[in-house]
Symmetry: C2
Subunit: 361 residues, 2 copies
């Protein structure tokens, strides 16, 4: 039976190739991998990532993701500032059988985690979240980083394990963007120098984001990289210049459900299937790339409809025809799907659960 549409199709060969390429790069530069599971949210793909010796653990954002991924991995970094007792208590429970680390930027978070760890009689590893230019979270200066590190050292139940950075403001590997990486390197170097001069422990310096992951060696001192999107890639990567179309391992298979309006077809995938995320590097490129009709443009999404402008296509997609769309941003797209189909070359697709879908907490 044909897979029902819309559905998420994962190209197994491309997933393996994307991971092998990054593992090879990491090995060449003495970096370890801690892939961010937010992209795939799948225990099976986590196991694939953990199958290479370079992969030492996983990254997650949410408490619920940590609880799910704990089944696949004994070493988890929660790269998210947990400031409340409820979440910190849930995470403390996991430390009984797992190495759990948290990254945060406030004394309040340290206090909440310390309290939960002490109550559970466990130790939580702590990384100081240092802002290197993305300006989302992270302490703002070397002095603030050192101060928070010293606070962590004094809190019971916490173990100071190092630093976390996120160079998410550098959207690709162009020459100009590589110069921005030199700035990140300079900020990090200063903090690391002063950190070591105070005799503070620094076993981990965690960094990396997908757009510049293959330039990670330019930021010296990093011990591990946390890329997530690299495993599937998406149109952000293609338009951002750090992925090729044939790296894109996740597509949404859709059916053409209407062709009543001239110059347009409608697919059964709208914002509840593809997300409303635009492509940040090509704002006018529409809401994804149609593999079979590369000159088509998905110009408008409503919740369950995708309107495709086909006026530049050589031929019109037929009513009932099935077409593949590469989404702009694959991570929130995966989060909309309870299941996906894992496609091995030459085999029928098989169901693969999105185990940690919808873990908002």
């Amino acid at each position: 039976m044909e897979t029902p549409t819309p559905c998420l199709i994962l190209d197994a060969a491309r997933v393996r190739r994307n991971h092998a390429r990054l593992a090879t790069y990491a090995a060449a530069h003495g970096l370890r991998l801690r892939p961010h599971a937010k992209t795939h949210k799948s225990l099976e793909i986590a196991a694939l990532q953990l199958g290479t010796p370079e992969t030492i653990g996983l990254t997650v954002a949410k408490c619920g993701e940590a609880e799910v991924m704990a089944a696949a991995c004994g070493d988890l970094l929660v790269a998210y500032p947990v400031v409340d007792e409820q979440r910190s208590a849930r995470l403390a429970v996991l430390t009984r059988d797992h190495t759990i680390r948290m990254a945060f930027d406030s004394e309040a978070a340290a206090a909440a985690l310390s309290s939960s760890a002490s109550h559970a009689g466990c130790i939580i590893g702590a990384l100081v979240d240092l802002d290197v230019g993305f300006h989302r979270t992270g302490v703002q200066s070397a002095a603030a980083a050192l101060q928070l590190a010293q606070v962590i050292e004094r809190f019971p139940g916490l173990r100071l394990d190092g630093l976390m950075i996120y160079p998410g403001h550098i959207g690709g590997p162009s020459d100009e963007q590589v110069r921005d990486l030199a700035q990140v390197d300079a900020i990090l170097s200063e903090v690391m120098d002063r950190w070591r001069r105070l005799g503070l422990p620094l076993p981990i310096v965690s960094g990396g984001s997908t757009p510049t992951v293959y330039q990670s060696h330019l930021i010296k001192g990093q011990t591990e990289i946390r890329s997530g999107t690299y495993i599937f890639q998406d149109m952000n990567g293609v338009h951002g210049g750090y992925a090729a179309l044939d790296d894109c391992a996740a597509t949404v298979l859709c059916t053409v459900v209407s062709n009543a309006v001239p110059g347009q077809v409608v697919i059964d995938a709208g914002s509840k299937t593809l997300t409303s995320d635009r492509c940040w590097a090509a704002l006018d490129s529409g809401f994804g790339h149609v593999v079979e009709y590369p000159t088509a443009r998905i110009v408008k999404l409503t919740e369950e409809h995708g309107q495709i402008d086909i006026r530049d296509c050589d031929r019109a997609p037929l009513l009932g025809e099935r077409i593949h769309v590469i989404p702009n941003h694959i991570c929130p797209c995966v989060n909309l799907h309870q299941t996906s189909y894992w496609q091995e070359p030459g085999e029928p697709p098989r169901l693969l659960r999105i185990d940690a879908r919808g873990m908002v907490i």
Copy 2:
């Protein structure tokens, strides 16, 4: 115990008031209600809507939504063009115990539904989807509408039940927009006249969308209205001029998790909690409205972080503080949540499942 964040909070009194207001309007104008369940995706809220005599059934978009809502309602309109055998077969099964109607715009859809209905030995009600200006789906002329109606009459297993329109291009109730409604009325009138002159049955003329729902009486001949968003409202409604802030019945309760970057706080709700939907009537208004800090602006969402510009606030939200956000577009936001909290006045919130969440098929 406090509800964990982020979570969706539903204000029971406002939900009831929003529904009562529409039911009163419908009764005054002899219109029946067939609310679109896509907004709430909840059996319990469906039951509330069905509790007024004006409500004669529900609307859904997806096959999976129909299967879930079948537990609450015996009369469902699938307002979506189903063109494949798989979906039409699943829907045909429901006709054993339910009145099921479908709206579509192609002979291919009629053929698929007729085949499934004949195979199941049942009858599916059919509405011709007529485009009145939104240009998404729908036949393009009176002639095309009549032609499809006559095709439906000839197909076994189908019962011609009338017309469906969606005036979704009219984004609000301003004077200019009300003039656009007159155009819709003119298009529909012509089709209805010619339809009746051919002796075709027309028991149902289904219309209505939330922005102009209280102007529905201006489109003559409509028998039922299908609004969905009216039950919760959202910032699209507030900025579009058809809802007040205190009509908004669904908020996302968030926690401030970082205040490290000057002039900004970060909440634990990003695009995987609020969606990336911008407010179509106020593109620069950010990604939702912060109830406790009305001058704050949610300027950027990443997957799990919402960055709020607080420079215009009288006081800064504290780390760990809990704040309520009214989303731009509540329907896809609800779809991101497995559960919500139903808040009766003066009572502790109780869990309410989002029963039809994530029904992509």
